[in-house]
Symmetry: C2
Subunit: 260 residues, 2 copies
């Protein structure tokens, strides 16, 4: 039987999702815990190979066992007992034996979270990227709109990708601003303009570092270092060097996957 798991994790302490011998990885932890539970060698197949330091609220993987002595829906409790606190399994269910999380059409949601303020916020430092550069969100939205649809994203991939094609479809990019309560109604204040900017990207799938390159390029456009038209230049030329920096991993969270 094939069992699907949904897994959330704090990526700070991990070298990413994908198993690497001798390194601490999410996949490695899941394999170890499942192999112990079922007393046989189990290897999960993941939906998204998130990078080192990237977080997730709901990555997906499947694995096969002859039979589960534990009721499938109880598996999260048993696994969480053995997993470290920065990984939690929150759903398990039996799926078709030929269900493959990377070969099934899906909608993946990622969020890149930016704390855009004069000063860092200690309680946000692990799960957002901080920048004091004022970002023009309207310009970022204009640039993001050019990325929506089916495009060749060759300029939005880091060296080391093993993808066979760089054509991908982005369904939507929403840029959301959230203003914290603590800066309201403070009299005589220095100029403090604090806000959280969330870049929410939905697509069928993403290339290596693609969301972080999108986030880095949109930030460059928002801060005026680059122009909205640089997006068109990137899409047309396929050249990575026209883009902004790859935004740091800590700001990226894989939100979840819907299978279509």
């Amino acid at each position: 039987m094939r069992i699907m798991l949904r897994v959330s994790y704090d990526g700070r302490e991990y070298c990413g999702w994908q198993f690497q011998p001798g390194e601490k990885t999410i996949e490695g932890q899941l394999n170890m815990v499942l192999s112990n539970i079922y007393n046989t060698d189990i290897k999960v197949i993941g939906a998204s190979r998130t990078d080192a330091g990237v977080h997730s609220l709901g990555n997906v993987c499947v694995f096969d066992v002859d039979q589960s002595k534990i009721p499938v829906e109880k598996l999260p409790y048993v696994m969480n007992n053995a997993l470290p606190q920065d990984i939690r399994v929150w759903q398990s269910l039996q799926v078709d034996d030929d269900f493959h999380p990377r070969h099934t059409n899906s909608l993946k949601t990622y969020e890149y979270r930016i704390w855009n303020a004069d000063f860092p916020d200690p309680v946000k430092r692990y799960y957002t990227h901080f920048t004091y550069r004022k970002l023009d969100v309207e310009k970022m939205r204009e640039a993001a709109a050019l990325l929506v649809g089916e495009h060749d994203f060759a300029a939005f991939v880091s060296a080391g990708s093993q993808a066979q094609t760089t054509v991908r479809t982005i369904y939507s990019i929403d840029i959301i601003e959230e203003y914290p309560d603590n800066t309201l109604n403070i009299n005589n204040s220095n100029s403090v303009n604090s806000r959280l900017i969330v870049i929410r990207v939905k697509g069928s799938g993403f290339l290596y570092n693609m969301v972080r390159i999108i986030a880095g390029t949109l930030m460059s456009i928002g801060s005026g270092l680059k122009d909205v038209n640089d997006i068109s230049l990137m899409l047309e030329s396929g050249k990575r060097e026209y883009g902004g920096e790859t935004a740091p991993a800590c700001g990226l969270t894989m939100i979840g996957i819907e299978f279509l």
Copy 2:
């Protein structure tokens, strides 16, 4: 001259705001950094003595110096250079020499954040309290409404308080539900009901552990362990034992202070 600072911090590593010899405290860190900068012994006066493990987005303190060789508005940059990353000063301004942050009428906002779901969320674990008990938010709102106004909160204070009176005024308690995106549109799911419940309390001032006792009592009412009427019983009797547990520190954040 008297200088006022607004300070945010991640309280996890600290024994609270208040200076204690030999312990790591927020006040102790600020005193040390300011004393080094001004090369004289400086002791800040804080507005709120938050407990061990409690976070803040904007606690306030003042201190006195004969003269500041650093332009007052640049002080956050100089202090943040010397402070650990879990404390950030984000505002500094000169105030009247007789301005005292505890003797000035103010509106203080605290938030108690609860991750109410079947499973913990790793990326929320440091800054929310997790409970899997289903909470009836409508009941919690009904109970919270009884606390708004001027009351004797003798039943809402832990032993060890040095307050001269237990009468306080709560201006408002809002209970906000936030539903995360990752649980939407997931087919065939186990029953997963995940949400963030934020108890936002505004008042003129709070007793020792008062917000955490309010949060713990509201959670007991929400989960059915206690009744809405227990709030009236607490207010009338002044007896702490009629209340719920003191909710854990990690869920509490001091949001900010407005001086009126």
